[in-house]
Subunit: 351 residues, 2 copies
């Protein structure tokens, strides 16, 4: 019996298309000869598209994307400070819109320091944790405004919106994830001593859900303290669950200590399956090195592996991860092009 | 002509009193024989006081503290999870209340990797930057609430409040600071691509103030990217200016890479001089090691040096910093007690 998977591909801007090209090659290779067929539709969205047509995310294209089993996303965003992009907000209008509209409430971002990879830390230890970042509310709600804008009397607000519904489902997802891992540890991160209302809802929900998972060892850290532990003893972490903004910050830091943002993968998961989940490298579009084959496609390739797992293709996912692991362990010091890294990972896959 | 400085001392909880004791000894020593006299008043505030009397910050004591030239603050907070502290919020009711009521809008937190100090980073380079954290608004405004609290339908909000007035004065303070330093660089940090309203006000204000300081090289970083640079190339930073919450997070991270939170000093500055400024180590009360002479008083001692600078006693401030620098360079690997570190710094001061 063959299975057809409909994959929406959004390569995006800058290095996005280059890294996605390699992720697609790896996907083709690992699925070759099997009974799974990928049926890809490419969507040209991002800053370049906006500059050409004025579109950010037209409704018909969003509906078309929704009609897929998964989304592979590169990176979006133009050259910082480009005046023509002043009226656009590609991040909010495209990337965050997809995360919110497709209810990607569990943004999963693993951090593993693979053998052979040097960390920025002097003594990182055995780093292998996973951040579950809330993806659909908190300070990212887009609920803010300004009064007397641009005058010396301006007041601008941003409202972090946190619901029991929204917190509970991502916390539960994180507990389920912790339950499936050998160490069975969960650290929740917030700033309960200052953000007392948002902090309280998180605290209550974590407490209630924890009672259902007696095997999981739970601890709490303020976000500021979490950054200290992340650079002093990252090996202590197993699963971290936190809000949208703290998750954004901690996962960039995690990327840096885990061998660099060129290796950091993510999945924007809609666990209910109502909408397609979306898989993307944590890095941005890096317009300064775009088109030069300088970008590391490993993060995109590892994001494709998270996608395979999500689609139930766990053997294929492991093969991709093992190939990346072998490649990282064997790579020399010489710089490699984007395509060369893709070639090398493909060469590590079983024939 | 002699000068009397009225110093309010709030040792606080946990290791607070131990580290403040050493800071006071260093102050006495560096001022001995000069024409400056410290007149100290001690205020017993914090979790211990709350547990004993139910008081957090009585109005008459706050008025008495206001009638001083400066405040030396240890650390406050009880044992995490202590049920008797459930109804108290020592952080908001005492520490943040002082920062807000005394209009400490410039929270300055230097990060210098002193010779002889090992960083958690493999290759930190020459780290010497200063974070100017906004201290009186942003997500710390305490402007939030919850609806249907404790039910499955709860909604909890936190409002970040940002005013042109509040942002402009701290940004100006940061530019002035950058102007006084040799490298003349200022990095402002926010999350303009997501927090568009708060981000815009910061962007406009920084742009306007920058025009008055043509000598300063200004750049911008998203807060997530800033954590990456901080662990990959912290030497690139000179002065950083950012909002209250991002500043909280970045300065703990800075403390960790600058040799540990035991060395991280701060000043909560009211540049107008309307209220006394407050000087405190960045670390917390660490109840787990309290009373054991295990705490490093260096952060408290360096905070006292920032206070001396603020009071115009720049020679004395430099002497304290030089003594700390010499002590850090010479200390061996053997652990030292809190008092031993105080002794050692005092021994390094000019006789
Ligand atoms: C580009 C930006 C909107 C995005 C975020 O803030 O979530 C990015 O930083 C990320 O972490 O995926
Ligand atoms: C104790 C807490 C309220 C405080 C803060 O968040 O500002 C602390 O983390 C700090 O950095 O001084």
């Amino acid at each position: 019996m063959t299975r057809t998977i409909k994959l929406a591909v959004i390569p995006g801007d800058g290095i996005g298309p280059e890294v996605i090209e390699q992720a697609n090659r790896v996907l083709d290779k690992v699925l070759a000869g099997g009974d799974v067929t990928l049926e890809r539709t490419e969507f040209k969205l991002g800053a370049e598209r906006f500059l050409a047509t004025g579109d950010t995310l037209p409704a018909d294209e969003q509906a078309a994307i929704a009609d897929h089993d998964a989304i592979l996303f590169g990176a979006v965003g133009g050259v910082p400070g480009d005046p023509r992009l002043k009226t656009a907000n590609i991040e909010r209008g495209l990337l965050l819109k997809l995360r919110f509209d497709f209810d990607h409430y569990a943004n999963v971002r693993p951090c593993t320091l693979f053998p052979g990879v040097t960390s920025t830390l002097a003594d990182p230890g055995d780093v292998d944790f996973l951040v579950v970042r809330e993806g659909t509310e908190g300070p990212y709600a887009g609920n803010g405004g300004s009064l007397r804008t641009g005058t010396p009397h301006e007041v601008a607000t941003e409202v972090s919106v946190n619901t029991a519904y929204g917190v509970e489902r991502v916390v539960r997802y994180a507990f389920e994830t912790a339950q499936s891992r050998p160490r069975k540890k969960l650290t929740w991160v917030h700033k309960t001593n200052v953000l007392v209302h948002a902090g309280s809802i998180w605290q209550r929900v974590v407490g209630a859900v924890a009672a259902e998972y007696p095997e999981i060892a739970v601890d709490y850290m303020h976000v500021d303290a979490a950054t200290i532990f992340m650079v002093q003893d990252p090996a202590r972490f197993d699963v971290i669950v936190t809000d949208n903004l703290f998750g954004d910050i901690l996962t960039d830091l995690a990327g840096a200590i885990g061998g660099g943002i060129g290796l950091a993968a993510s999945g924007n998961i809609n666990p209910d399956g109502t909408f397609p989940s979306m898989f993307e490298p944590v890095h941005g579009s890096a317009p300064d090195i775009a088109g030069q084959q300088k970008a590391d496609p490993t993060a995109a390739i590892l994001s494709a592996a998270i996608m395979l797992d999500h689609l139930g293709l766990t053997t294929e996912a492991s093969r991709v991860r093992d190939a990346v692991r072998a490649d990282l362990a064997e790579r020399g010091a010489a710089p490699r092009s984007t395509a060369q890294i893709g070639d090398a990972v493909i060469a590590q896959l079983p024939a």
